[in-house]
Subunit: 437 residues, 2 copies
């Protein structure tokens, strides 16, 4: 298929899918088709474009030149003159950006409902949430509108919605993909992530986007990872930390563990309590002040918009860090460091921790009834990764009660490729897309 | 010489040197001689002890089992049951600890005068300061009382007193030597350092102390460094940042630069303004709250001792971080990251930055007249290193006006050995010790 044909198909699929809330800005089809025609010309002229005609959606906290960046807040919007390097690198490889996707405002949330642009519904069940914060990106990928979509991830925003929509979500090591041109949630923890239906395509996009850009001070060059052992060791949580999952998910998870063991992987059960305690620091202590530093002033200056253009739950979280003391941050940092050392030591040399990606898939009504509580339950297995500089990868692992169930591999920094090798052994075969919009 | 003979000589030399203020706790000679006799026995029995009989002093913010750790404050003192790993590893290699040395209280200072145990005087000139905060350790090494001494370094405390006393000060990459059992100044920036008269001995001690201990979450395994180029590139500051040095020091520095160039090193002049601006964040912003987190509560609870057992300048610095906001820390952190990226990029691929270690050598009276100002001038070239995760090495580089002049090499993390190779080309030949006490 030519790029032009793929773009046409994408717009047709988008109309068919009927999820307008997934987009914040959808570019005019004619404009995108002109770009696609240019890609086709370059390919015919012999240019090597590894992503030629790959249709891309970009979370609306990542700059695309000429389109507003809203971060989910109309009042915050600005018009970047340049693509974020992550976007520019995909475009340079032949990727074609269709538009900007809806998100939990300021990437604060795991639900996909915290947006004045509308609550994003699951690709599989419109009564349920999409997950977030990269809500629109995940849903549009799952529905086959786009081939890949960019998200971001600080607490699980690039993984939870992958699980709830039955797709792959790659959260690379912090700094591998520069965050230049990305609205910060927690600047030192944020990652650009990729959604795709196929692991290989997601990984290819990450590789293309990787490498310091000379602007992001936290960007890091990739570091060679050790090859996967012939018989790798993978850790799984003990039973107590697998309690409270959605009906059928514990059984589905055990199925994945069995499949992995049968593939020649040694499994070790570990107590992940220190990792879960570390995770609580992301919102429960002074770390939240990094969100305050990012957008607290904006919210303070626009307090009158809270409840309309500014999501009240998001505002509450961001402003909660206003009074936090720097000395308390340093105390929390020490606590985090100690919990990380203890928690990672318990993995006993395992190359990855395998967990469910999230714990349940609430309905829109359940989240509306308990915005903080419903969200908090969802981050059990994702919240600690960025705090402890982990790489992670979420893959679909089957269907339970007609909805996707996903698992996640979490590993050392720069273990991204190793996780992908392991993920090939556990990912369920791709599922046909359901369009239920 | 046997260990027993070396210990006897050390006590004799100590008596001769007449610098009681350099010690906070000096162990009874008989007790240390018994330990030395044991080392001699083990050597005779064929045990390999690379530091057999090496006489060691330990800064009094590092635990030595059975001796109080005061951190320069009698009220703070506690009696550790175990050696810090840094100390334990030297002792396991045959090192013999004579006692604990005086310091700027809570390792807060570059002068050596901020201690209720007395102002430590330069080994070369008793009217002038020793430099600090590792004051006693540096002076006792310079006077030949001990072979090596442990210090710590957050802002220059392991380098400035090396320069002012004409000895070597090695500040390894953060985390190479575990800081378990070290009273924190700024926990995430602190390094255990080594003073010696000979570079090789200092380096050997660092190698022996290196390696994660399973307790310090910030400990890092050494990483292989690239070998030194046949014609390495070394950066030096442009003239404007070499202004205001003590009389004769600019000329002495140029002499070192010439010597280095003649040894086959390419020299590039770089504008280090971003690095110097980064350095100001250590005391000028929310970073100081890491000191507050460490000992702020102690000082608050003992306010009545300020001016007697607690140094007023130190108390002022530590308590200045009490009100700092966590959000301001995150803003300062971003500023630091950006200045670091810019400043390090300007080094243009140089393997190290060569600078004077400090800027002047004040008298005790000059420091007493302006405790903060005199100190602040001294940290120009040292303050940014730990903030920006640099390795550094201070070496003697001659004598100006009868007092030592020292230079420093600052490089990437894990470039410790590379810096040592370069330092061999610039270090002046060891100078005979002056005992002027």
């Amino acid at each position: 298929m030519s790029a032009v044909e793929r773009v046409r198909a994408a717009y047709a699929r988008n109309a068919e899918a009927g999820r307008p809330e997934a987009w914040i800005t959808l570019r005019p089809e004619a404009e995108v088709l002109a770009e696609a025609a240019d890609v086709d010309r370059r390919v015919r002229a012999g240019e090597r474009l590894p992503l030629a005609g790959t249709v891309v959606a970009v979370k609306d906290n990542i700059d695309v030149a000429g389109l507003p960046t809203t971060a989910g807040s109309p009042a915050y919007a600005y018009s970047p003159a340049e693509d974020a390097p992550a976007v520019a690198r995909l475009r340079a490889a032949g990727g074609i950006v269709l538009g900007k996707t809806n998100l939990d405002q300021f990437a604060t949330g795991l639900v996909g409902t915290r947006s004045p642009y509308g609550a994003v519904r699951s690709a599989w069940d419109p009564t349920r949430i999409s997950g977030g914060s990269s809500s629109g990106s995940a849903v549009l990928t799952a529905l086959g509108v786009v081939d890949i979509a960019l998200g971001t991830d600080t607490a699980g925003s690039g993984r939870v919605p992958a699980a709830l929509n039955g797709i792959v979500g790659v959260k690379p090591t912090i700094g591998l993909v520069p965050t230049t041109g990305v609205v910060p949630a927690c600047r030192t923890l944020d990652c650009v992530t990729v959604f795709a239906r196929e692991l290989n395509l997601a990984r290819e996009a990450v590789e293309l986007m990787s490498g310091p850009d000379g602007v992001d001070p936290l960007a890091r060059a990739d570091a060679p990872a050790a090859p996967l052992d012939a018989r790798p060791l993978v850790a799984v949580p003990t039973a107590e930390h697998l309690e409270g999952l959605a009906d059928g998910w514990a059984e589905a998870f055990q199925g994945v563990v069995s499949r992995l063991a049968e593939s020649g992987v040694d499994i070790v059960e570990v107590d992940i309590a220190p990792l879960l305690e570390a995770a609580t620091l992301l919102y429960g202590g002074a770390f939240v002040a990094e969100r305050t530093a990012a957008v607290g002033d904006f919210i303070q200056e626009h307090r009158d918009l809270i409840g309309t253009e500014i999501d009240p739950t998001v505002a509450g979280i961001v402003l909660a860090g206003t009074e936090a003391r720097a000395a308390d941050y340093f105390r929390d940092r020490e606590k985090l460091d100690r919990l990380g050392l203890e928690g990672l030591a318990r993995l006993g040399g395992a190359v990855a921790l395998l967990t469910p990606t999230t714990t349940w898939h609430p309905t829109l009504a359940e989240v509306a009834a308990d915005p903080l509580g419903a969200n908090s339950r969802m981050g059990r297995f994702t919240n600690f990764a960025n705090l402890l500089d982990r790489s992670a990868l979420a893959v679909p692992a089957g269907v339970v009660d007609g909805r996707p169930f996903g698992v996640m591999l979490t590993g050392a920094p720069f273990a991204d490729r190793t996780l992908a090798q392991l993920a090939e052994r556990v990912a369920a075969p791709p599922v046909e897309l359901f369009v239920v919009g």
